[in-house]
Symmetry: C3
């Protein structure tokens, strides 16, 4: 119970945002242009013999309205061995989420995020509650001494309801290259329908340039969504230029239709220090005639309308 | 992400309180006799060249029932320059609030607080959601090297709803004197009605005595409330005697009436240390025939009835 | 406001649990097999002359779903004197709770806890809101220099609703023995019906063995529950074997019946360090023909059915 054993960490990221869906424009204060605002506590105890125990508590903050209070970003306890890997229990990110987050020029935050199109079906986020994280999970992580091979597996209890999850991720990183494959299956309806995800992503860094790519397929019964994400980071001065293109195809959507959407995003992050940045991003989503993809947070969108967003903000981590 | 860069701070202030409205008396445990119970985290990063970044997270606590969890007292991120001032984004106090808080012998807490009458219309607190704080705000603060002149301005987005705020405060402090003027306008109904505040306050310290005064006007369409607040602090032994008188005039209230209320308060704060005090306050509100001003927290009040309160508590800050 | 004066502390305790009520089995992730998962902040200020001030904020965490955010485990401020004892205000544990918690081989957590039967009436937890803690309390604690005698008293305001509490606990500890008596009365209905608790518990430690015993009676009007709890801890290797038997008799229950239940529990705690343990517990509740006692968290139980639970988990404190 020494405070010295606990690290307090977090992010405050607040900006101004202008979202236009069709001809309706809304001005907003945004809370996650670069990373989601958050606060967390974590600690690690060395148990000797290569064993350790650790905990991680992390909750989102909405600095625009002062919301917060839960630990729904992550709430886990772990026992780990240097050679045998880590056993982790609690609410945690799903293995399949990490490919969306890592192999995507804008991560999963802000108007340019590929996740604006990737998450769920029909342009709606979080169709399955395990797209990002899972309650009631038991996870296993490979040790980090496998020559660049990394991986994890997770099972999560449905506790008599939906949300039973089984998934895994396996990757390799080295020589500037990083590639990983993820697969998962979630029991997503009371009748037992499965929400299935397969994704394969990679990045390659050469000098100031980092290229990122991801293919991501989601499926439930006959409904299906296919995503292709291509992006780049380019180190420029004390900052990074970021660019991304996302293609999304929705087949046999809720009302039986097929449609597509394309997201184009460009942004710049100006680093004032390792902990503090100013940033701006511009993004546009073009829909096919019955498409309903959008940058979330704005007005309702009419089928086929474009969605546009621009934002500028302050990112500060602690 | 070093815990050393984060300061944990807060207040636990709990007392026993007896409130009498008309002939109905209620015994309560109070949670903000001297200051509102709270917990917060804040930090500041020096960026060099007179620049800095900082964050501030602060949420109220209800130690009587163990409530808490949000950051609705303040949740902001800032970039500041020694010479150019501070840009601050997030949920924050409004400029017009500070005059109510600073030029008032009991601040905005406890049975003796002028805010018991000042806030909102018709004796009801928080008629406008920007009386104390505003969501979605962008604020600017003057630097502190202007020879005693201080000031701030704030705009806040309504995000398609009510609560759009524009306000500012300008003051001067020196030679024991402190005076400040505040003005604001909030879009307070879906139809666009404006809630307008103008207040002018000051304090003057001479030896053991500090005199405080405030005039505060609130207006929305034809409804109007005028307040006059006069108070004093007198350092006595290791404590402070506090006294306050508040006059409140309500014109064209919700049901078209005009009425008045007067608050008289007297209290003593006994400091056990810089961080810990014991205190007691007694207060009385007298209403005109149809007045409905009261000390909040007790039973419902009948028109024209008096409201009386007495409390004693422990204040501890960390 | 120095962070050095604040201690951050907590517990993450997550396990896997299998609960069977009658013939219905549910697999769950558990969050309090050994101790309730929690986070807290506390601090103490020396005021000189044997006086001190302190605060304690502590809230439960549900790491299975990432819940948390309040301080409902405890939220108190205290002023204490070495010789005169401690005055404590806020939300706190009731005196009568401590006998349930201390003189019970499994404390009040997990499938083997005596509290599964002891709390409230009719097998339902928290019939009175003061069984564990009380809102709006004012507590007094004897100083710790009374030759092994310890004690506390609490009154809590109902604030115009139910929950008015008066209670006390008096004990003596020394020479391996610890005994304490608790009594309380809570105004538990709008009509003023009293919920009354009397409990007497003790423990005796000799070498590796600790024996624990408790009698606990709860009564409201004609309804009554009597509990007898017998348990033992046995230090074995780097761990502790725990065993418990609980008898519960319910008289004149909600539907007028009398019934009984018996809980048998056995478990092992393997300590990896002072802060980290692995544990497993198995427990069974046998009901008389109309009994409805159970291990909480599983499926609904039919009258007279048995309730069985097994769990294994990781406990980590910080």
């Amino acid at each position: 119970a020494q405070s010295s054993s606990v690290t307090i960490f977090g992010v405050l990221d607040v900006g101004v945002q202008r979202l236009t869906n069709g001809n309706k424009t809304l001005n907003l204060e945004s809370i996650d242009g670069l990373q989601t605002s958050r606060i967390g506590f974590r600690g690690r105890e060395d148990l000797g013999g290569g064993l350790s125990a650790s905990f991680h508590l992390e909750g989102a903050i909405g600095p625009d309205v002062g919301s917060g209070g839960d630990w729904r970003r992550r709430a886990t306890v772990s026992v780990a061995s240097k050679d045998a890997g880590e056993l982790r229990l609690g609410r945690d990110y799903t293995p399949t989420f990490w490919n969306i987050s890592k192999f995507n020029a804008f991560g999963t935050n802000g108007v340019g995020a590929a996740s604006n199109l990737v998450y769920g079906f029909d342009g709606a986020s979080s169709t399955a509650k395990t797209v990002i994280r899972s309650d009631n999970s038991v996870g296993y992580f490979l040790p980090d001494n496998l020559g660049g091979v990394y991986g994890q597996a997770m099972v999560a209890a449905g506790e008599g309801s939906t949300g039973r999850y089984v998934g895994a991720r396996l990757g390799w990183a080295g020589n500037g290259l990083d590639v990983a494959l993820g697969v998962s299956e979630t029991t997503n309806t009371a009748a037992g329908a499965k929400f299935k995800v397969v994704n394969l992503g990679g990045s390659y860094t050469v000098g100031a340039l980092k290229l990122l790519g991801l293919v991501h397929n989601s499926k439930q019964t006959t409904r299906e969504q296919k995503n292709l994400v291509i992006g780049a980071h380019y180190a420029l001065g004390s900052g990074i230029v970021r660019a991304s293109f996302v293609n999304a195809q929705s087949r046999n959507s809720a009302n039986g239709e097929d449609y597509t959407g394309k997201l184009f995003a460009l942004g710049y992050v100006h680093n004032l220090s390792k902990r503090t940045s100013l940033y701006s991003t511009i993004s546009q989503v073009n829909n096919s005639k019955t498409g309903r993809f959008l940058i979330p947070g704005g007005s309702a969108i009419a089928l086929g309308d474009d969605s546009r967003g621009i934002e500028a903000g302050i990112y500060h981590s602690f």
